[in-house]
Structure formats: structure tokens, C-alpha cells
Subunit: 263 residues, 2 copies
């Protein structure tokens, strides 16, 4: 179980790498990579414990501080959990990455990478078409009820734009969850959440909020009707139209998005 990748650059690379530039792995990154390779190849699974710090350091020919740093990083990303105390019950256990860890990083990535909003919109379209289509086939009664309630709460008088936006996000998330494809759900949620603030800004910049929100509510009702009628193709088509027309009708979204994301 000795690693082929580890040990290439022993302890010396513990010092910070030259910022940026082409990547030679630092010591802690080598440890992370070692763990990740074993997870990806199935040698380490959810519920397994990592070797103890000292043991792992010896095995990889790296310093204990490199191992500690790596474990902390894996922990911050929810890949491992360390239990308190160093006794036999303590240790570092591999966990399933919690959805919020991925969502958070993807959301930040979308915000910082300065993806053109057109790119984000195209990806949203294909993912949400998939979700709407699968939801039309598979949504159970509880999921349908949740979508119906969300849609109806959006019809309430005098909703603030913040509340409206929160419910709007909920509706799209509910469809993704009803689809029963957990990877599509995670990606859709992350992308929709990364758009939460730009979309809210779009609402706030709208010259005619009453007609914008009436349009959005009408479209949500139509999508839900198609899902309830079990018409996958129509639901997918309506979701695509909805995303594209909302985007068209919020010209400020471009400006706002650039404002948010440009360096």
C-alpha cells in the first residue's frame, strides 16, 4: 500500500510553492492526492479510517505537519471527519461529502471565475430541462405538494422581492429534487444559488416589477401543471422558455452580473 505518487518530493517541498504558476504539488497536497486516489479507486471507502498521522507521514515520507494540514483540508471540505480524542475510538473517518460543501464551492467558483452569464444560463437550461423531464416522470405526491405550495405562496399579495426570490429558488430546487437524480439536483441547486443575488438585483432593477412577477408566476404555474400532468417534454420546454425569457426580461442581469463577478 505504498504510494507511487507520494515520496517523489520529500519533506523539502513543505515550504510554500511559488505562488500560481504550473503546479508542483506541495507536501500537504501530495497527502490529499494520496487519499483522493485511494477514494477514487475504491481502496478507501465511506466509513473507513485513515491511517494515524504518524503512520501516514512515515508511509509517504512526508512531515507530520503536512499530513495534519491535509487532514484539515479534507475535513473542511467534508471528506473526512476527525473525532475528538486520540484513543482507539478517535481518528479520522472518511465521510460522504455533504452536499453543502460542494454547493458552496461551486457557488463561489461561479461567482469568482467570472463565467459569462450566457454560459451559466446554457448550463442551467440543460440541467433544468433534465430535472423537469425527470420530475414529470417520477415526482411523488409529497414532492408535488411541496411544489404546489411554493407556487401558491408566490401568489400572495405584497411579497417583498427578497421573499419572492427565495420562493423562486425553492421552486427550482424542488423540481430538481423531485427529479430524483441526485447529481442533477446538487448541480442545479448550486448554480441557482449562485444566481440568487444577481437575480434579486435584477428584480430590484426592474422598471415594471408587477408585470415581471406576474409573468414569472404564470410560468411557474404552467411548468407545474405539465409536471402534474406527467408531460416530460412539455415541462422541459416550458422550463427552458422560462429561464430564457426571465433572463431576457432582466437586462440589468448582465450588468449586475458583471458588476458582481468582474475583477
Amino acid at each position: 500500500m505504498t504510494s507511487a505518487t507520494a515520496g517523489q518530493e520529500p519533506g523539502s517541498s513543505d515550504s510554500p510553492a511559488t505562488a500560481g504558476g504550473s503546479r508542483s504539488l506541495r507536501a500537504w497536497e501530495q497527502v490529499v492526492e494520496w487519499v483522493e486516489q485511494r477514494i477514487l479507486s475504491g481502496q478507501i471507502r465511506v466509513g473507513d479510517q485513515l491511517p494515524a498521522e504518524r503512520e501516514l507521514a512515515a508511509q509517504l515520507g512526508l512531515s507530520r505537519s503536512a499530513v495534519r494540514e491535509a487532514v484539515r483540508t479534507l475535513q473542511a471540505n467534508g471528506v473526512v471527519r476527525s473525532s475528538v480524542g486520540a484513543g482507539p475510538s478517535g481518528g479520522t473517518t472518511v465521510t460522504a461529502v455533504p452536499h453543502h460543501a460542494l454547493t458552496r464551492l461551486l457557488r463561489l467558483h461561479v461567482a469568482l471565475a467570472n463565467f459569462p452569464i450566457d454560459d451559466v444560463t446554457e448550463v442551467r437550461v440543460v440541467l433544468e430541462r433534465l430535472s423537469a423531464s425527470l420530475a414529470s416522470r417520477h415526482a411523488g405526491l409529497t414532492a408535488l405538494r411541496r411544489m404546489r405550495e411554493t407556487v401558491e405562496r408566490m401568489d400572495a399579495e405584497g411579497l417583498s422581492r427578497e421573499d419572492f426570490n427565495a420562493l423562486d429558488t425553492d421552486f427550482h430546487v424542488a423540481i430538481a429534487e423531485a427529479a430524483g437524480n441526485s447529481l442533477a439536483t446538487d448541480l442545479t441547486v448550486a448554480i441557482r444559488e449562485s444566481l440568487r443575488l444577481p437575480i434579486l438585483a435584477g428584480f430590484k432593477a426592474s422598471d415594471d416589477w408587477d408585470s415581471l412577477n406576474a409573468m414569472l408566476r404564470r410560468e411557474h404555474h404552467a411548468i407545474l401543471d405539465a409536471v402534474e400532468a406527467r408531460e416530460p417534454d412539455r415541462a422541459a420546454e416550458l422550463v427552458e422558455q422560462h429561464i430564457r425569457s426571465a433572463y431576457e426580461r432582466m437586462p440589468s442581469l448582465h450588468g449586475q452580473w458583471r458588476g458582481v463577478a468582474d475583477a
Copy 2:
């Protein structure tokens, strides 16, 4: 610039939260959240410096160690970079999340979350349909040449299954990159890479490797022909057929995937 979220749970929450369970934020997580909220709202942008550790701790009413822990986590995910030295030139700068940070987490997430391979396949289909379609419209000469070279290298005699798989991954990544939609590229790369080992295992388990690899090469040629002919719909259709039929023709993939991903 005082935060509304920070300060709710002062220093006391510095101690480790009860493992798992519903989430009340630990101190360092509050700091991460504070930074993230400001990034998502555009108050902090790429190139900006975070306040100094001491200042941020005072501002949020949290300990300096919580701030340090948060910065380390953001650093590990590539959200910030700390320059060595604490002088006026030192400090913590917000950077664009490097693609490999997201790819790595998404890849791990796909491996650990134990997504059914059917779910992963459906998401691949919609993302790669998008990529193939956009590549047919937008691929430049360099991108086309790269795809052509990859496809031709796969025709070489006596390629090992490992090398074949590496080139296969390259081909799908090349299409995603040629599409010019950077979010679709990142997601496609992460998902295809998370499948690298299961697919290799599928190749190895194949009873008739010669005909499997002949089929895959034929399909790659056909996809590339469609992209070169600038036929987006045909390219999208061929990619979908290719992904689905490869999956069908590797029955071990189900078994292997379960083997890899089940806890």
C-alpha cells in the same frame, strides 16, 4: 461593513460542533460564510485583500484562531492566496478559484456520494450534448486539430487499455473545451474524470475488447466528423448515443461502480 450573520454565536462556538447533525456554524465556518457572502454580493472581488486577521477577528467578535482556520480553508480551496510575510506587501488576497479545486471536489463528491451511475450518465448526456452542439458551432482550428489528433492516436495498434482510456477522456474533455462554455467544461471534466477508473475497470472486464474499442473509435470519428461539418444537432445526437451505448456495452460498469462507490 459589520456582518449580520457573524457575531450571533460568539467565541464560545469555537469548540468543535457535535459531529454531524443539523448544522449550527462553528466559529471558523462563520468567518468563511462572512467572506463568501461578501464575495457573492460583489463587495469583495478577485484581487481584493481580506482584512488582517486581528482586524477581522475583532470585527466579527470571534477568535483569531477561528479566522486563521477559515483563511486556511479558503486557501486550500483556492479562494484566497496568502503571501508570505506580514508586511504591507503580505496579506490574504482573493483569487479566482482554480478549476482543479472544483474538479477535485466534484470528482470526490461523485465518488463518495455514491450517486447511482444511471444518474451520472443522464447528467453526462445533457452536458456533453450541450458541449458537442456548441463545439460544432464554435470550435476553432486549434481545437479541431487537437480532437483530430486524439482520435487518430486512439487508432494506433496495441494501445494499452490505460492509454486508450486516457485518450478517451482527452477526447471528451477536448470537445467540452472546444465548446467555449467554461462552466460546462468544468462540470464535464469533473464528471468524466470521476468515471475514469470505473470506465477503465469496464474496459478490463470486457470479454471482447477488440470489438469494444473498435466501436468506441468508430463513434468518436463520427462525432468529430459532425463537429467538423458544423452540424450541432447531429453531433449532440451522436454523443448521446455514444455515451449510452458504451454504458450498455460495459455491464461490469454497474458492478464496478457499486464496487467503487458503495460504502
